[in-house]
């Protein structure tokens, strides 16, 4: 059975709600330059990491109730981008996050 993914309970993290609103507004105005801005900040033993919008979305979905397959399913439904591309991006992201012990 596939593992359910969860955020390492040892991390402290913060979602930048106001920044998400700003980015969404920028997107609506057709400007894409801010899409890579950090909207989640994570601290693990005084090492800081930041996630962009898509990274943040995956991060929020890693709530201990979803497997990787479930996460891909949710994102596929929302973004309608080629499944192969999405799977590659999610795999890449999750493996980095696991290596950093941010997701377990």
């Amino acid at each position: 059975m596939e593992n359910k993914l969860k955020r390492n309970p040892a991390v402290s993290w913060r979602l930048e709600k106001e920044k998400i609103c700003q980015i969404n507004k920028t997107k609506e105005e057709g400007m894409l330059k801010d899409l890579d801005e950090g909207v989640v900040f994570i601290n693990l033993k005084n090492e800081m990491f930041e996630l962009n919008l898509l990274g943040a979305e995956i991060w929020l979905l890693c709530n201990g109730e979803r497997t990787k397959k479930d996460i891909i399913k949710v994102l596929f439904k929302k973004y309608k981008i080629p499944r192969e591309e999405l799977e590659h991006d999610v795999n890449d992201f999750l493996s980095k996050m696991k290596n950093l012990h941010l997701i377990i």
Binding site: A10, V11, S12, W13, R14, E16, E18, K19, D34, D36, E37, G38, F41, I42, N43, L44, K45, N46, M48, F49, E50, L51, N52, G55, F93, K96
Partner: protein, 341 residues
């Protein structure tokens, strides 16, 4: 993951100088010359609640020697209870088995112990405290026995920049999690003694080049901190940015702030530019509206920085070192070795 340069809605971390008191009197200390009325235990609790409210992610307790104030344990525990990461910078003198156990029970994330030289006499002399080397080593062993993550802090200066190899060996022998080489700061006693202990720009270049080489081969993790001048040594200017930092230039005032023992808020521990006080002012208002922070976040190149292609990445280096030595935030970092042709 990305390396954007946007400012978060609140500081990510706080360097809390918990007390002015210290049982040592180090020659490079940035805070030994400071004095004031320290926050009471109740005021410290109030400050901690403000930090919880602001959703700060990490607090590093420094000083003076933070373990001199018994309230440290209560405050650290309170912050930890609300999910804030905690680290402690100590000289190790007060860490016995009982204290090490208490730190482990609070689940302090990282403890950093200062070691200035592998030569005990040199270390003790620099700290004006006989026996301090042996106590620091003993503290490291006790902390490791408790399963804590332990770092050695070593401020690079004239007394040790030629013995970095020996410091690395010591760190490997002690099996610490990291050996962090910190940049000498011309602040407090560090400013008074700058001519005696600070390195020349060329010496900084040389020692950083050496340490970058050691980083590749050492058994211990060698850290160089968020040192903006390291951009000068990257093969591509963005290399450091992508690998180490969330932000261009120094993180002070962009990702972090400092709280002094009396509650004063400053951009970092090494500068006495007071932005407000935790007892009277709103931390988030200061973070979002301080004209000093605005200036730090929008540094203008001056002097040789106007001609330097790295300014975009290093942002002039350490503003505290620049300000303390020249009176100008925008002045080039006095440690910078880059010269226009």
């Amino acid at each position: 993951m990305n390396t954007g340069i946007s400012i978060p809605s609140a500081p990510l971390s706080i360097a809390w100088n918990f007390t002015y008191s210290c049982n040592m009197n180090c020659e490079h200390c940035y805070s030994r010359t400071e004095q004031g009325k320290e926050l009471t235990n109740e005021e410290q609790e109030y400050v901690t609640k403000q930090l919880i409210k602001a959703k700060i992610l990490h607090i590093n307790f420094g000083g003076g020697e933070p373990l001199i104030r018994p309230s440290f344990f209560f405050i650290a525990q309170l912050a930890k209870k609300f999910g804030i990461g905690i680290s402690l910078s100590s000289n190790g003198w007060l860490i016995d088995n009982r204290v090490a156990k208490s730190l482990a029970s609070i689940k302090v994330d990282v403890v950093s112990i200062s070691i200035d030289s592998t030569n005990p006499e040199k270390h003790d002399k620099f700290r004006n405290c006989s026996g301090s080397f042996n106590r620091a080593i003993e503290a490291i062993k006790l902390l490791k026995q408790q399963g804590l993550k332990v770092k050695i802090f070593s401020v690079l200066s004239k007394i040790n920049y030629k013995e970095v190899k020996e410091l690395i060996k010591l760190a490997e022998t002690l099996e610490v999690d990291e050996l962090l080489f910190k940049n000498y700061k011309p602040a407090g006693k560090g400013l008074i003694n700058v001519d005696r202990y600070d390195l020349t720009p060329q010496e900084w270049e040389k020692v950083y080049k050496k340490l970058i080489k050691f980083q590749r081969h050492s058994k211990v993790n060698i850290g160089l901190g968020a040192e903006p001048l390291l951009h000068l040594l990257s093969e591509s200017p963005s290399e450091n940015d992508e690998n180490q930092s969330l932000i261009r230039g120094a993180p002070c005032g962009k990702l972090s702030l400092c709280i002094k023992p009396n509650g004063d808020i400053t951009p970092c521990a090494y500068v006495n530019l007071v932005l407000g006080n935790m007892l009277k002012d709103d931390l988030l208002y200061i973070w979002q509206n301080s004209p000093i922070l605005y200036q730090l976040r929008n540094k203008k190149p001056t002097g040789k920085c106007t001609k330097c292609p790295n300014f975009e990445w290093c942002q002039g280096g350490c503003f505290a070192a620049a300000y303390n030595t020249s009176g100008c935030i925008d002045a080039p970092d006095p440690h910078c070795w880059w010269q226009p042709n």
